[in-house]
């Protein structure tokens, strides 16, 4: 049981350090223009990667399952300018219904 606490500490402290590195080390220092234009694109790049992996990823495989139907419903909701909350609820409901119908 002592081994598990070492693992919990390593993951916890490591994650805290990773999360805090930018805010603590960089602080409010203004970034150079070129760095700024890269940082500005981090959000779309990482968000799109999260969409892709959260929709299709399962460990190291790519799978098409009910999540794809949920995300498809989300696309439709976004297209009609539904609020974010509605987009999330619609996606979960669509995926749940798809699973109920035996898809994915």
């Amino acid at each position: 049981m002592s081994g598990i606490w070492g693992i919990v500490a390593a993951i916890g402290l490591g994650t805290m350090a990773i999360k805090a590195a930018g805010p603590v080390l960089l602080g409010s220092r203004p970034l150079p223009r070129r760095v700024k234009s890269v940082v500005a694109l981090l959000a779309p790049a990482l968000l799109a990667a999260l969409v892709a992996t959260a929709t299709l990823g399962e460990g190291q495989s790519l799978v098409v399952d009910a999540r794809v139907i949920g995300v498809g419903a989300a696309v439709a909701a976004i297209a009609v300018r539904a609020p974010t909350l509605a987009v999330v609820v619609v996606a979960a409901a669509a995926a749940a219904l798809a699973r109920l119908a035996g898809i994915g």
């Binding site: 968000l47 990667a49 992996t53 989300a74």
Partner: protein
């Protein structure tokens, strides 16, 4: 202090706005926290108390699930640690993106940074690389409470709650990221970065350990060097 265009908005308003936006996700996060608690307490990989402590300190779902499942499968401790930290390495670029708005001394910055998770960061994003700190912190507190609370309920006896995927909750996360991404696609650079980022993540998924594809996708932001 560096001031942003939103500094006229009271911080309390932004905190509340972040918290309210995070509420529906908090339900999903809480249920996944429960399943993390159940997995940790029942599969013998981790145990109840370490699971709760990990949720409170690590506060990153995918990394915790990865570590718990590796340990439950009899994997090496070093493999569990490496997988979790690899999955969380994306918080390095994410932390850099919000560094400017998480103001205060080193300790305050350190503590505020712990409330950064994918969802709170995404809720705080206003496009063009701008972030609203109040929204991030409000959302982060709500999500932390539901994640840790969910884990506690899970380790105590959450098996009765069933499988969150049956409720489609695993589709709630990509849907949120997509909704927030849609609000970011203001110019061609952002669209190109998004397409490239998603492409990198998908192509790498079968060939690299989980976590690497998302980190590698941040390289797509380098196209920002091209045309500005």
């Amino acid at each position: 202090m560096t001031t942003g265009p939103d500094d006229a908005t009271p911080i309390r308003f932004e905190l509340r706005r972040g918290a309210v936006t995070a509420l529906p996700l908090a339900v999903a996060v809480g249920l996944f926290g429960m399943s993390f608690g159940v997995l940790s307490a029942t599969t013998g990989g981790m145990g109840a108390l370490p699971a709760v402590v990990m949720s409170a300190t690590t506060f990153a779902g995918s990394a915790q699930f990865a570590a718990a499942s590796i340990l439950a499968g009899g994997g090496q401790p070093i493999a569990a640690v490496a997988a979790a930290l690899l999955l969380n390495a994306r918080y390095l670029p994410i932390g850099i993106s919000v560094a400017r708005v998480l103001t205060g001394g080193p300790l305050r910055r350190f503590l505020k940074a712990q409330l950064v998770v994918d969802e709170s960061w995404a809720i705080a994003a206003r496009g063009g690389g701008e972030f609203v700190a109040g929204r991030l912190l409000g959302a982060g507190v709500v999500l932390w409470l539901s994640w840790v609370g969910g884990t506690v309920v899970g380790v105590i006896g959450g098996e009765a709650l069933g499988d969150p995927t049956a409720l489609g909750l695993d589709a709630a996360f990509p849907a949120l990221f997509l909704a927030l991404l849609a609000s970011q696609l203001a110019d061609r650079g952002a669209v190109s970065a998004a397409l490239l980022g998603a492409g990198i993540a998908v192509v790498l998924t079968p060939f690299t350990p989980p976590g690497v594809p998302i980190i590698a996708a941040s390289a797509a932001a380098l196209i920002g060097l091209l045309d500005r």
